[in-house]
Symmetry: C2
Subunit: 86 residues, 2 copies
């Protein structure tokens, strides 16, 4: 993802890339209401692609960040499976 | 992620889980303006965690979806690196 898009994303900047991410999250929300599994899968792919782009332009290692916070236990309640009630 | 949260997420449902995702995306946007790299990494981790939760409750394989759409070429312009101008 970085090789594919970094050049383009770095020109767009952080604010512009975040704006695209929020658009894709909105489209994902709309796709949740349709009964089209393949379209829904494409919207999930778009959101994760823009999230990865945003991580690249901000210098964050997305995979590392996720693994650091979410290991085998819930970071809030410390249980596995999570027992949080919210 | 599925083992950790599926039980809880399936009780919350799709709309509730999507609502949490949008909250986390908003928090990520706020963290972009701060100068705290570790806090930013945690916000990225939260967004991807809720995106994974939402994929689980909707029966979507998030990793598979991303790989299906984003292989080695941009799905829009077909180039690598991407040459789209938006």
């Amino acid at each position: 993802m970085k090789r594919l898009y970094f050049h383009r994303d770095s020109k767009r900047g952080i604010a512009g890339t975040y704006s695209w991410l929020t658009d894709e999250v909105r489209e994902l929300g709309e796709a949740l209401n349709d009964n089209d599994k393949e379209a829904l899968e494409r919207e999930f792919a778009d959101v994760i692609a823009w999230l990865a782009s945003l991580a690249n332009v901000t210098g964050v290692d997305l995979e590392r960040s996720a693994l650091d916070k979410y290991t085998n236990r819930c970071p809030k309640c410390k249980h596995s499976p999570c027992e949080c009630t919210f």
